[in-house]
Structures are given as structure tokens and as C-alpha cells.
Symmetry: C3
Subunit: 343 residues, 3 copies
Amino acid sequence: MQAWSLAELGRRLDVRVVGDPEVTVSRIMPLDEAGPGDLSFLHNPRYREQAEKTEAAAVLVGDAEILPGRNLLVCDEPYLVLARALKLMMPGPTLKAGVDPSASIDEDVVLGDGAGIGAQAVVGAGTRIGPGTIIGPGSVIGSGVTIGGDCLFHPRVVVETNCRIGDRCVFQSGVVIGSDGFGYATVDGVHHKVPQVGIVVVEDDVELGANVCIDRATLGETRIGRGVKVDNLVQIAHNVVVGEGSILVSQSGISGSTKLGRYVVMGGQAGAAGHLSLGDGAQITAKTAVMKDVPPGAIVSGVPARPRAEWTRSQAGVARLGKMRRQLKELERRLEELESDDD
Amino acid sequence: MQAWSLAELGRRLDVRVVGDPEVTVSRIMPLDEAGPGDLSFLHNPRYREQAEKTEAAAVLVGDAEILPGRNLLVCDEPYLVLARALKLMMPGPTLKAGVDPSASIDEDVVLGDGAGIGAQAVVGAGTRIGPGTIIGPGSVIGSGVTIGGDCLFHPRVVVETNCRIGDRCVFQSGVVIGSDGFGYATVDGVHHKVPQVGIVVVEDDVELGANVCIDRATLGETRIGRGVKVDNLVQIAHNVVVGEGSILVSQSGISGSTKLGRYVVMGGQAGAAGHLSLGDGAQITAKTAVMKDVPPGAIVSGVPARPRAEWTRSQAGVARLGKMRRQLKELERRLEELESDDD
Amino acid sequence: MQAWSLAELGRRLDVRVVGDPEVTVSRIMPLDEAGPGDLSFLHNPRYREQAEKTEAAAVLVGDAEILPGRNLLVCDEPYLVLARALKLMMPGPTLKAGVDPSASIDEDVVLGDGAGIGAQAVVGAGTRIGPGTIIGPGSVIGSGVTIGGDCLFHPRVVVETNCRIGDRCVFQSGVVIGSDGFGYATVDGVHHKVPQVGIVVVEDDVELGANVCIDRATLGETRIGRGVKVDNLVQIAHNVVVGEGSILVSQSGISGSTKLGRYVVMGGQAGAAGHLSLGDGAQITAKTAVMKDVPPGAIVSGVPARPRAEWTRSQAGVARLGKMRRQLKELERRLEELESDDD
């Protein structure tokens, strides 16, 4: 591995060097695993004690005062600079362009320059894949699909017929895009399937976690906005719209036709019922169940969801229930005493 | 695309035409995306305002009074007729019969007439696949499996050894049928695996969503009844029985050996503990945790689940806790006053 | 199928025979499905009535008194002996060693004796697979991966670059190991991806359920300890450590950097926030949301998690809220009476 002096990293990453600029590092490691040849980083104050004890040669940090006497790289946005340092010092493997001989590619597939199709992958008729996009081994891309440039699909991704994917999207393994929406017309005890003829549109710079499911629309589109980040095992139903920059944490789920504004956050294992509107910047805390519209900027919690402050108060009230019961009994006793005096 | 006059659609779908029978439509689109050449539909009253403003040439609706002055197709079951109209006007692609040359099929596999095996799929020894059934690309069907006729498996479905699937089943991508049940005998801190030698039986007309997991029985069968519909990312453990016509909404889960009656509904992210019985027609609302048996027809909510009405009352009580605390304080103050008067 | 006399089973399984030792059985079946040629077993007292009525020729049981007059195999640990009886009487299929001709194996892959690679599987450069390990059809094993001996990967498992798997691990279908952790540096409304350059280490004797996701570490390792058992659809985020012997029930999730001690149990659909510590032997009941550290041995419930006993009391309090309200009203009425008397 290449060794980098702190001076060189300071120049390349545009950060301030504190301590010895000649010290060299070749890897980035967590505080508690780093050794003398490593750079580490402190972002979450919870790990300050670990940072004081780390054997790392240098630490990337937001505030030099926190770690006196250390070799440091200091900057305003240490987590962002970490991202850049990782790309610089520990780049991923170069992915192979071209079509693996074991892949099954329909004749009229259009592949951009530098695009790559992994082993055992399948690509259907009429599909267009942009330049620099890598389709992982074992993936199945249906017919009539459009995928932009510079995307990275990990192994075993599915994108079904006619869906459209933007540029620079990253899909982890097991992602399913364009499965049928869950729609049935129930008459006399029979659930008749309503054909799901719409598509899924994923805009640019979207990342989807492992085993995420996004259903195609019944009619029209299910749409994932630009820059949305979705964690593992999230469910997005038919005709949902997720606004730009929203964050959906692991195992959350959004029911059919619900619309999320821009920069909405769904916490882990949270859910939203169907046909709702969640305003721009709304925050749905972990485990919450949204059962009605949420105004822009609101923070909601609980089952069903209520404003966060209200929920916190009522939780505190529940914790005090035992005390309230004892107070009630005591009042009753005193009242009885007065009543008997009164006779 | 073919254009259809309302008159023709009225005849074909057996519905009443209101307005101009000569108007033609070629697609079905949502109210807010439909244009002058489109048919749209109004099913959920929540979208009435959208229906009034839609640019669609005609609307499929349950009640002509709701949309005066519009070209309409009117019928008692608009959602069911929508399903039929979609099949008529926007049929899916014809799926290819025959075995793709890249598939790996064991020699003694039996394929019915018109069955199709997709690219890169794997089918094991002794497996029988019924007429008209399509196995999607990248699917893995184990040995000794029986699959009925006219099923549609989307890409990358797994059905493991000896499981049995009925007719007309639709499985979305990433479905896993026949994974081992979660059974261990823990002795002296070691979890010894209990071999799971049972199977999964899926009856006719079942639909399973993307990345659904159904574990094989320890002994005997895990059974999914006729006409059951299962949404994405649902978990069904070993030896569970799901009765005919039940609906399991996304991310719900059923623990081992629990039996669901007919037409049970599990809401999104709901769960049921093991070895329970959920009676016919029971409704488990979203996010609920069922910890004991549920009688037929009951509607239950909460963690742990209680009758819906009781849960609603207690939730209202929790919301009033702040007020109750103030009342208690006020009573205490008045009581003190009386007590001091009493001296 | 081979028939076994109870006498023979008694010797082979080292258990006591009660009743007729000459009786033979050839399968093991559940109590309610067993017939005259079958052995069944009673482990959960809930099924005692079924055991009394079973048509099984013999029953494996922990206490002979429970089923008087029956042919029995009696032992202290009937569930553990069931595991051994199943291996003896109903062994799984012998899995094929060698590389299936349809698999895509990089040239420098190292395969141990008796290892097998299934149809359509993909194995990347520099990967080492131990003796007796079976990689299921359609699996994708990245480059630089190390897998121990005697593992069984069911179909369509993904293990990404550089991850390390121990001996005797069993992974169900759809498992994804080594997907990117969910880490972004958000600056001016843009979520910049933090490269996830760490790995996942899975120690010996770990079992992972269908569609389980384990993210690779940002830096360093995500680690799953020896003997951990993970049920279907569980989410394990980057840099999580799960201690030896822990049990994660279906659809539970653990957020980034949280550390579980040894023998922790996460119930179904439970979740833990990030950067927490759950002590040895902690039990997180189903549906619980852990929001702060849990001491060793604690049993916690609720959203947010509290000690189980406290949660149970407060749930009882909530159920009594209606009664408390009536008591408050009654106290108020009596107080008013006293006050008017007082005038």
C-alpha cells in the first residue's frame, strides 16, 4: 500500500495539518483497530476516549483542541473529508468493462462506453445501459429498461421491464425494482389481481440497500427522487413518490400512493399508511406508524404518529402512572377522613 | 396502441356508458397523469377532486352522480372492472415458452406444454413443472419440486427441495420458499440445529411479493392456502398455516407453528408470536404484536394486541394523561383547603 | 425408507425405551400428521392433548408419566435427541462436490477437498473455499473472500469482496454479506457517500436465515460471533458486533456500530439504535426499540425499551386508565359535596 505523508494529505484533501507533517500513513482504520501506520478519524463525540487512546499515527478531526499533542488533520467537515480520503487512499477495485462471456444479453441491448455486465447476468431486449455502468454478476435486467451512466449494481440486482434508472445510482445486492404492486379487487371472497402496468423511475444519485423492494405503479410511475438514500430491507409500494434527498432507514416501509416531500427522513422500522402526504423535511422517528398526513418539518413519533413533543410527554405520563394511582388512593383516604369528620 | 371507443369498452367490459360513446381511448392512466387519449378511474373517494380536474377522455367510476358532465364507464365494481380493462387494453408481454439455452436443467425434469424456463435458471432432478408455467431468469428450483400450471415466477425465485406449488401462482422476484425453519435445541450454551425435513405447500392462486421468505416445516408442512396474497418482505416461519384468502401486508411476520384461519388480514409490520391460533376473518392492524390467540372476526391492535376498541380507548386515555395530572393536583389543593378549614 | 425398531433407536440415540421395543418406525412426523409407522415427539406442553390422540407408533418425550400406555423414547433433552434422530432417520441429500460446468469460477480460486460449486454460481479471483463446503446454485462469491470448511450455502447467497466466513456456517437463500454500510456525509443538502472499505467477519457455526443482510464495515470489521443464529430478513448494519451464541429473531435490526455481548436475544421485529452496547445475556423482547445501553442480563421491552417489569406495570396502568378517570370524577363529586357543606 502507498504511504502518504500528512503534508501530502493536507494538500490533496485541503485540510490543516497539526503536528508532524512528515509522519506517513498508508491505511485508514477505526480508532480502536488503528496502528502506528494508520490514519484514523473522530467524528462522533461518543468516541473521544477511544481517540485519546488510539495508536493511530494521526487522526482526522473537526477541532484540534479535542486531541492536544496528537498529529492531526483538521477540517470543518471531517466526515466528508473522510469520504474523500477513503477514495484517495483506499480506492475500490477497478470494475471490468465489457460483457462477461457467461452473461445472457439480448441482441438489441445498447451498451455505453466502458459499461460492464457481470458473469451469469441477464439483460432483456431493447434495454439501454449508459456509459461506465457496471451490472453485477447474477443480476437480471428486464426488457425495455433504461439505465443511466456510471451506475454500480452489486450482484443479483433485479430491474424489471420498462423501468428507468438515472445516472450514478448504486444498488446493493438483492435489490428488486419493478415487482408488481399489491393490488387486488376483492369480490365475493376472491382477490382478483389488478394488473400493474406502470413503471418505477429512479432519478440520479440514488442508492438502494440490500434486498430493498420497489413496486411498479398500477398505472403511471413509482418515483424515487434525486439523491434519495435507502437502507437495507426497505419496502416502497406502488405509486409512492419519494422526494429528493430523502433518507429511508432500514426496514422502514411506505404503503401505496403515499407521497414523501423533499428531505423526509423515515427512521428504522417506521411505516407509513397509504395515500398520505409527508411534507418536506418531515422526520418520522424509528418504529413510528404514520396514519395521517404529516406537515412539512414536523417530527412525529408513536403508533399512531403524533408530534414528537406530545408523544414524549405522554410517554413520561405513562411512566408516572403508578405514582398517580398512589396519589388517587391517598386523596381518597383523606377525603374519607374529612367525610367522617363531617358527620 | 389500439384505440377503443367507449361503446366498444362498454360491450366488452359489460359496463354502462355515460356521455359520448364515440370517444376513443388507448391507454389507462392515473387521474393526474391522464391526457385526452386516456381512460382513467376513480375508486378511492380521496381522489374525487383529482377526478374533477383530470384531462382524461373518460373515467371508470362506481357512481355517475359523482362526476356530472363527464364521459364515464359506470359499474358496481370499478376496481374489478379496472383489472379487466387493463388485461384487455394493456396486456403484458407474451412470455417465451421453452428452455433458454443458458439454463441448467436436470435431465429428468418434466415440463408441461408451453412451460418456459428463463436464462441462467436452474432446475433440479425430478422436478415437475406444469403447462404454461414460466420460471423467471436466474431462478433456482430445487430437486423433487412440483409446480402446477400457469404459474408466473419473476426473476430469481428460489423454491427448495420437495416443496409443492399449486396452479396459477405468481411469485415476485427474490421469493425464497423452503429455507430451513429456525429451530435449535440449546444445551449448555450450544445451539444444536434441528434438521428441518418438512416442506412448504403453496396452494392454487397464491401471490407472493418480492423477497418474501417461507420456511419449510421441521416435520410435515408449512401451508399457504388457496388465494392467499402476500406482500413484499413478509416472513412466514416453519409449520405456519395461512388459511384461504388471507392477506399479509408488507413486512408482517408470523412465527413458527401459528395457524391463521380463512380471510385473516395481517397489517403492515404486524407480527404474531408462535404456536397461536388466529380465527377466521381476524384482522390484525398495522404494527400490532399478537401474543395470544385471536378469536374469529376480532379486530386487534397494539403491543401486545388487544381488541381494537379497547386499544383505541386506552390510546385516548394516554393522550389525556396531562389533563388527569392537573386534575389530581387541583383536587389535592382543594382537599388541603378543606382540611385546614377543618382544624 | 428404512424401518427402525425402538430398541435400535434406543441404542443409537442413547435414550430409554418404554413400551414395546419391537415396534418399528420409518419416519418422524408431527403429532397430528403421524400415522402407525411413524415416530413423533412432544416437546412443548401446549401439544399434550395432540400427543394423547396421535396415531404415531411411538413418541419421543421428556417424561414418561405424561403419556401413560404409549410406546415411548424417553430422554432428558427430547428436542436435542429429535435433532439427532432426524439426522439418523431422515438424512438430507448428499450434496455434489466439484464445480458445476455452468458456474463461473476465476482461475485462481482455491477449492478444498470435497467442496462443491453449484450451477450458475460465480466465484471471484483469489477466493479460497474450504474442504466440504457447498456453494449453492446462483450464488455470487466476490474476490478475495475466505470461506472455511463444511459450510452449506443454499441457492443465491452473496458474499462480497474480502469478507471472511468461518467453518460449518449455514446460509439460507438470499443472504447478502458485505453490502455497503449506510454512511453519508451530508453537506449543503447533498448526501456524499462515505466509501465502505471494511469487511464482514462471520465466525464458526453461524447460521443466517433467508434474505438476511449484513453490511460491511466503514473501516475495520462487522463481526458475527461463533455460534450466532440469525432468522430470516434480519438487518445487521456496518461495524456491528454480535457476540457468541446470540439469537436474532426474524425481522429484527441492529443499527451501525452497536455491540451485542454474548448470548443476547433480539425478539422478532425488535430494533436497536446505533452506537449502543447490549450486555451479555440481555433479552430484547419482540417489537422493542432499544434506544440506550442495556446492562448484562437485563430483559427490556417497549418503545423506547425499559426494564421488562416496569414496562409490564405501565401497560397494566394504561389498561386501568378508564377506571382511574372514573375514580377522579367520583372524588371530585364528593369533594364538591364537602365544600358545599363547608359553606
